[in-house]
């Protein structure tokens, strides 16, 4: 790459402008705060699953799980948008990102469903593999976080990725039940994510005063 090549410089500048614009979504910590809250909620679900004995209560809880995931995701998305509208956009401006195409969203949903079904089938055939579920959570979460960290170049996402992989693997090696491991894993990762988001939001609010004070 020749630094005197005007197209190299142009490409660098274009990449930097694109990166800054994409990173803007994460700069205030609001999204992490809401996603962390969602993870804590999932952790609480596992706490309830761990504490409620087998029976009608446990069956009702199992039915609640998809509702909790979908409802929690929708609530976290709405909360993120509302918080950004109230706190971030008046200070540093509004940005709307292109939504993934319907085809891509369908592909993601189908892929998630296939992975879920394969995991369930694998555990049904080889129950001893159940002990490795926390490790799968850990590495899957870490993979997603590392992809995001690489795209927007944010070190704190890499830290969360390593924490996630480490926690998942550690819980698998400890041999806890899926419910107990889920309670610990999602609560710990949720709290860590929310704490990172809260610190980032605090710093952001200090650096970007409200419009009347700016």
């Amino acid at each position: 790459m020749n630094p005197n090549d005007p197209t190299t410089n142009l490409d660098d500048k274009i990449q930097q402008a694109r990166l800054r614009t994409e990173r803007y979504w994460y700069e205030d910590g609001v999204a992490e705060l809401c996603v962390g809250g969602l993870f804590v909620l999932i952790g609480l679900y596992f706490v309830a699953a761990y504490m409620i004995p087998q029976g009608p209560g446990a069956a009702a809880l199992a039915i609640l799980m998809p509702l909790l995931f979908v409802g929690g995701y929708l609530a976290a998305t709405r909360l993120t948008r509302k918080a950004k509208e109230g706190l971030v956009y008046p200070r540093t401006g509004y940005v709307s990102y292109a939504r993934p195409s319907p085809r891509r969203r369908w592909l993601t949903a189908v892929l998630a469903a296939v992975i879920g079904m394969l995991t369930v089938e694998l555990i049904r055939r080889a129950p001893s593999l159940e002990a490795w579920i926390p490790a799968v959570w850990g590495f899957a979460t870490a993979g997603l976080l590392l992809l995001m960290a690489r795209r927007v170049r944010l070190a704190r996402l890499s830290f969360l990725a390593f924490l996630s992989a480490f926690a998942g693997l550690g819980l698998s090696l400890r041999g806890l039940s899926t419910e107990a491991a889920g309670a610990v894993f999602y609560t710990v990762i949720g709290l860590a994510t929310a704490a990172g988001g809260a610190i980032t939001l605090r710093r952001y609010m200090r650096q970007a005063p409200p419009p009347e004070k700016a």
Partner: protein, 113 residues
Amino acid sequence: MNQTVGSSPEPRGDLHDLSEVDRVIHEPARLLIVTMLYAVESADFLFLLRESGLSKGNLSSHLSRLESAGYVAIEKTFRGKIPLTICRLTDGGRQAFRAYRDHLKRVVDTLPE
């Protein structure tokens, strides 16, 4: 053949291409604005102002230039009582930006080391 003194030199074919670059986008401030808008669906005036480091007047005039070229669509709206100027790259603007990048790359690729 030597050029005659006083006559304007003929540009070489590859360099001649350079003079055909899209001047609306080529201006550095406008290139920055178009690049930022290329990465998103839309952004407001405040975001562009902070990220570009331009003055309000400068940003406004560059946006007007891009709007009159049909590259940027500007919508003035309100969120509550706060006025909001939303800017987005039009399909033509996206196409022009891609063409600009390709054009510049092509020109530079033809130059000797």
